[in-house]
Symmetry: C2
């Protein structure tokens, strides 16, 4: 049965952030690192990415406690040229590794115009949009790609799940309009949405997954019996494969059959790969001119006449931006099942429960 | 009626290349520039991209003769930092502008590791894969995106055609296997395929286009009455939009409603934008190690068990690579309608006809 918003509890983002930070510190993470991760995770919830925020906390904690993620990583640059770097995350939390990588890309792009930073020995880092948006504050465009942390996608025409959803995110700043932020898996649905549906007891629409006979699979609790479908058929497969070669293989990170199923295994080092590109707008154009041009593109899309069944045309990032404003004002809704799992976590870690 | 291969003529790639070069020289293009374009165009046919090779010659010639494309452009770098450049193509042939941009990206990536080169005042440059593959010979990965030369895609839920198919191509070298080369439009079908279908008198499959009521459109001669569908619905729209901001808006090139319909207008300056990223593999990894890892990924995909209805799993670029070998041996097939249009062109330009 679908749980309604009326049945949810609401929490201010600061509450979630404080809870997350306290939870990580309770297992001996440094205050500074716990703070970085908590801010990113709570921001995911604030922006409406319910599948990639505090929902993941019990899993992260479990993996940190078993040693499957390194609590005290030494994140460092392994290779470097003026326009690129390869960061070794030392199996630390993906959020820490990617924050480090994104900040480095921005710093390098200041002098080089464009910089590409790859990661290896990273981990699940939450929603792709978080990192693509980091360069925005420096008047840069961000482009981020990650190897997903479990294979749910076979090559087109195949049945062996050799690929992950390998999401791509691109964030472009505007002048008066909200930034344009694309965050998409190369599959029709991200696997995180399947997990959220399962937790909420919701059915999946047809087209998200098929079973091993190629028939539609709509029960998220049977997700293990099938696989995700790529967007555009062989095109989405091709995109997942090529982005995987760039985010994984090029960085010496896991790709294809070497990807560890993060949902089934709390111990093995995932060697997750990601990359981020920071593009300094002022290298290409006068910043205000560019941002006003983006405003123009956004407005022309929004003012298109609509097809029957559509109220208005939206631009990527628009829903998330509206959700952020709404949730900043009214709090972040939390379903009972997630709330209970966080209360259990609090009791296990002997920290103050959420309230 | 579908024309069969048995009804086609076959030409060696050298024949096509020589014909193209002679045609451009007949309208006063320099021998060197005609040679560069002819090699790229013939390579498109050799690789099986029939919609983007010699098929486009009459159109290019027409636009060059009307002055819609600059016969004698001064292509130059307008802005530059160590990791990027913005190239002004001076409204020259897109092939020339993009060859210049790709060579520059490769040169910059040698010292910087990664380099991003954008273009403005460029033009239609043929298949995206041509340019993504240029860095391969220097042991680099190529990533190329272009603004398409006519808008056939509305924003998701809209009816106004504000976006082009904005193709993306990524080429990654392997050790023993063929390079992995993705070349995809962000629409289910490229518009070039619609044009080829119209020329061949073939129906389009459902799912390529819909009419303005949202109903399937399968007659390619009615293409003007509808629009292309994006891959993955709103995802493909988002990808087309964001790639357009990067390849168009960032470079000061046309994007969205400013895109000139190249098929309907032989005169207006298109101000086409593109970008290419060259990624030097040795900056990230030992070259042989990386290429062997790519071999491993390719082979694991190919050896996946198949779904009913599939003989084998393929990797992007595999069909094109096989076609290149087959066409190198047996020649490039040409349909009668295209052959006749090239004979007419030869007579108009007073050059030796194809034979």
């Amino acid at each position: 049965m679908k749980e309604t918003l009326a049945q949810s509890r609401f929490f201010k983002v600061e509450k979630l952030e404080a809870f997350i930070k306290t939870a990580f510190m309770a297992i001996d993470m440094s205050e500074q690192e716990a703070g970085i991760i908590a801010e990113l995770m709570a921001d995911a919830d604030l922006n409406g990415v319910d599948s990639h925020g505090i929902f993941r906390l019990p899993h992260y904690i479990r993996r940190l406690k078993t040693g499957g993620i390194n609590l005290h990583p030494e994140i460092k640059v392994e290779r470097e040229k003026s326009g690129m770097a390869l960061v070794n995350g030392d199996n630390g939390m993906g959020h820490l590794v990617m924050k480090y990588a994104a900040d480095l890309a921005v710093q390098k792009a200041k002098s080089n115009g464009v910089a590409w930073v790859g990661t290896k020995y990273s981990n699940h880092a939450g929603p792709a949009s978080l990192y693509a948006k980091i360069p925005l504050k420096d008047d840069m465009i961000g482009l981020y790609v990650a190897i997903g942390n479990a294979n749910h996608l076979p090559p087109w025409g195949g049945t062996e799940m050799l690929l992950s959803t390998n999401p791509i995110a691109i964030a472009v700043p505007a002048w008066e309009e909200a930034p344009v932020v694309l965050d998409m898996a190369t599959t029709v649905s991200a696997y995180g949405k399947v997990k959220t549906a399962a937790q909420r007891g919701e059915e999946m629409p047809e087209g998200w997954m098929v079973d091993r006979q190629g028939k539609p699979l709509t029960d998220p609790n049977r997700a293990e019996e099938g696989f995700l479908l790529p967007i555009g058929g062989y095109k989405g497969y091709g995109l997942a494969l090529l982005l995987g070669l760039l985010a994984g293989t090029l960085n010496g990170a896991a790709m294809g059959k070497d990807v560890v199923d993060w949902n089934a295994d709390d111990v093995s080092v995932t060697n997750t790969g990601q990359f981020i590109v920071a593009i300094s707008i002022e290298s290409f154009a006068e910043i205000e001119t560019f941002k006003r041009a983006v405003d123009g593109v956004v407005r022309s899309m929004q003012s298109s006449p609509t097809l029957p069944g559509f109220d208005k045309v939206q631009v990527p990032g628009e829903q998330s931006f509206a959700k952020k404003q709404e949730r900043t004002a009214n709090g972040i809704p939390m379903h009972e099942k997630l709330f209970q799992s966080l209360q259990n976590l609090a009791s296990e870690l002997k920290i103050e429960p959420l309230q």
